[in-house]
């Protein structure tokens, strides 16, 4: 039987999570680092928003603001053989795995110094060397890729797993279901995390998905385990993720997790309607009671680990780092016209090792 554990209230949950070894064994520095991580992500995104408004960044800009505990908590428990992949709302995951603000900001500016050399933009950050496989723009398109990462780990007999993040709207793409069935059928250690922020663009969860209890319960149709949690507290996210990562690796099994969260901003910056499909009060309520940064700051203050001064310092550093990144991006060069046709074929980029012949590219 599949585990059914829907935890809608968070009282008691946080205390329990705090006591779990994964959290109780944290040093003070490590705890502060978690707070710092979330603050860095938020300040980075706020800075990118300003750049967007200044016309320095084009295309889409999907902000993660409000959701920071999910990526921060879940990525913080991964080991060196664990890999991950997400959708287009991908800045947090990038910074958290160790990508620099410079290369991320420059990417959004479309500069040659960007992490994808100006070719991917906001939705397409990658750092394979840090086990981060993007950054994907097609809703749920990343889900079979995440499955494939975990499949390869299992095939290569590496003691790792893959986390694949997706949105609450993404669960209704067929390819996700195909991936769930394959994962369950073949015992693949992939952890699908639905970052449920309540909306897919302007459509509330209730208007896009029919389900019973939780979206994650769809896992039962595949005899797969699942859990759903309120995810605004980084301890809770860590505890849940850690437990299921160990489960996935020890048993070589997939799992489907729902992390209930919230985004403050519009779907993307172009979404001027973000208060049309929900009330100002709804946003405020979350901000006031469940803001991941405030909540964790309070925890650390209560634990006596941090004081206002320390937070101020973190805030200041994060802002300065983000401003410096914007400056770096601004001062970087755009890619060359020649580079348009680079990074298309591995072979064309490695002419010495090219084995094929004939034309790879076509002119008019």
């Amino acid at each position: 039987m599949a585990t059914k554990k829907t935890t809608r209230s968070s009282s008691g949950l946080v205390e329990k999570a705090a006591k779990a070894k994964i959290n109780s064994s944290l040093s003070n520095e490590e705890k502060i680092k978690l707070l710092e991580d979330m603050i860095r992500v938020r300040r980075f995104e706020e800075r990118s928003l300003r750049s967007y408004q200044q016309g320095k960044i084009g295309g889409f800009l999907h902000l993660y603001i409000g959701q920071e505990s999910v990526a921060t908590g879940s990525l913080s428990v991964l080991g060196e053989n664990d890999h991950f992949i997400t959708a287009y709302r991908d800045h947090a995951h990038a910074l958290l795995c160790g990508m620099g603000m410079n290369e991320c900001m420059a990417e959004m500016y479309g500069k040659a110094t960007g992490c994808s050399r100006g070719k991917g933009g906001s939705m397409h950050f990658f750092a394979p060397d840090k086990n981060y496989w993007g950054g994907h723009g097609i809703v749920a398109g990343q889900t079979p890729l995440g499955l494939g990462l975990a499949y390869a780990l299992k095939y290569q007999e590496i003691d790792g797993c893959a986390i694949c993040y997706l949105g609450d709207g993404a669960v209704n793409q067929g390819v996700f279901h195909e991936s769930l069935n394959i994962a369950a059928l073949w015992d693949i250690p992939v952890i699908f995390i639905i970052e449920n922020n309540g909306y897919s663009m302007g459509t509330s969860e209730a208007r896009s998905s029919k389900f019973e209890d939780s979206l994650a319960k769809r896992a039962e149709g595949y005899d797969m385990k699942w859990e759903s949690v309120e995810a605004h507290h980084v301890y809770v996210v860590r505890e849940v993720t850690d437990r299921w990562v160990r489960y996935a690796k020890e048993n070589s099994k997939p799992v489907l997790l729902e992390m209930k969260t919230y985004r403050y901003r519009g779907h993307s910056v172009a979404d001027a309607n973000s208060e049309k499909y929900r009330t100002k009060e709804e946003i405020q309520r979350y901000q006031e009671t469940m803001d991941p940064i405030n909540v964790f700051r309070k925890t650390l203050t209560d634990e006596g680990i941090i004081d206002d001064e320390k937070v101020k310092e973190i805030e200041k550093n994060a802002k300065e780092e983000a401003n410096a990144a914007a400056k770096f991006a601004d001062e970087s060069d755009f890619p060359t016209v020649e580079s348009i046709t680079e990074d298309v074929y591995w072979e064309a980029d490695n002419p010495d090792e090219r084995k094929s012949e004939g034309r790879l590219f076509f002119h008019s």
Binding site: G118, K119, G169, Q173, Y277, F362, S364
Partner: protein
């Protein structure tokens, strides 16, 4: 005549057809309560209500397949793809079911569905969101596809598309949504399959469709200052195709440039090129040349994407090079 935006023209077409025919519904992601990701359907939900204007889950294969099924029973669903790029998750429905059910039933069924949405680059949204699949669609017998280059055409073609008894796919352009053109207040239709000579000229024929027509016209104006007189043929509809208007122009100018936002290989313009050389071989003074998107996935970086797409400078240069070649 009042000037209205391309967006407004499409909305008027939808609104008029919704009023005219009860079997018309508008369906897609965010088209109703959110008023459309690009606001093309703004106000329609308020006006026609939730039975006619329907928000869907992010399930393109599911809802487009549903529309095809409904159209077999006589409905005329107008499906919005937020981007034509998302057609790839519904490709089987779009190609196998919409295009082939009539054939495989020996003509017992027809599928009066319309699928519309933007298909273009130029907005820095990257490779996965910048596909222009009119060549894939036009390849497929059973389907029709139009690419309006301006508000007037968009309205007239979309209305014809909705009344058409075959599947018609309409490829719009986000960069045009906010631009204005004269559009008459009284009702009108533009038949599918009728090209439009957007500018007359005698030195060279540009054949184009979609926003590339606008680019071509701008280049033609610049060239006119140097005494180069370019004719610009707007295909408007790729399938059915008004090749006769193209051939007539070629027979007059004897030189051809195809301007096409597709990538080069097996582009719409590859087909036009083949047909011109086949049917007007003796009229050609120079090889048929093309300006297409540079052959790589769509780059994100703004100034580079502008280079990658057909642009005025590249069109001008190509025209000059053809004329040089001929005179040389």
């Amino acid at each position: 005549m009042p000037e209205i935006t391309y967006r407004e023209a499409i909305k008027q077409a939808l609104s008029e057809e919704l009023e005219r025919d009860e079997q018309v519904v508008v369906m897609g992601e965010e088209v109703a309560q959110y008023n459309g990701a690009y606001k093309v359907t703004e106000g329609l939900f308020d006006k026609f209500g939730g039975k006619r204007i329907i928000d869907t889950p992010i399930s393109e294969a599911g809802f487009i397949g549903m529309g095809i099924g409904a159209s077999m029973l006589g409905m005329r669903p107008v499906m919005e793809l937020m981007f034509w790029s998302f057609s790839y998750v519904a490709f089987d429905q779009i190609v196998n079911n919409a295009a082939m059910v009539r054939y495989m039933s020996g003509g017992l069924i027809n599928v009066p569905i319309v699928i519309r949405g933007p298909a273009n680059g130029g907005t820095n949204v990257g490779a996965t969101h910048s596909h222009t699949p009119e060549n894939f669609i036009a390849y497929t017998p059973g389907l029709k596809v139009v690419c309006p280059s301006n508000a007037y055409d968009a309205k007239g073609l979309l209305k014809s598309a909705i009344r058409d008894n075959d599947p018609v796919y309409v490829m719009e352009n986000t960069l045009l949504y906010g631009q204005k053109w004269e559009v008459p207040e009284e009702e009108y239709l533009i038949p599918l399959g009728k090209a439009d000579v957007k500018r007359e000229g005698s030195d060279l024929t540009i054949v184009s469709h979609g926003r590339s027509v606008i680019t071509s016209l701008e280049a033609a104006e610049n060239l006119a200052k140097d005494g180069i007189d370019v004719e610009v043929v707007d295909l408007r509809s790729i399938r059915p195709l008004d090749i006769d208007t193209v051939l007539e122009s070629v027979r007059k100018t004897n030189r051809v440039l195809l301007v096409d936002e597709n990538k080069p290989f097996c582009a719409t313009s590859s087909q036009i090129s083949h047909m011109i050389q086949l049917e007007a071989f003796d009229y050609l003074d120079a090889p048929i040349q093309r300006v297409t998107s540079i052959d790589a996935p769509a780059i994100y970086s703004d100034p580079l994407e502008k280079e990658q797409l057909p642009n005025v400078a590249r069109v001008e240069k190509a025209v000059r090079s053809i004329l040089d070649q001929v005179s040389a």
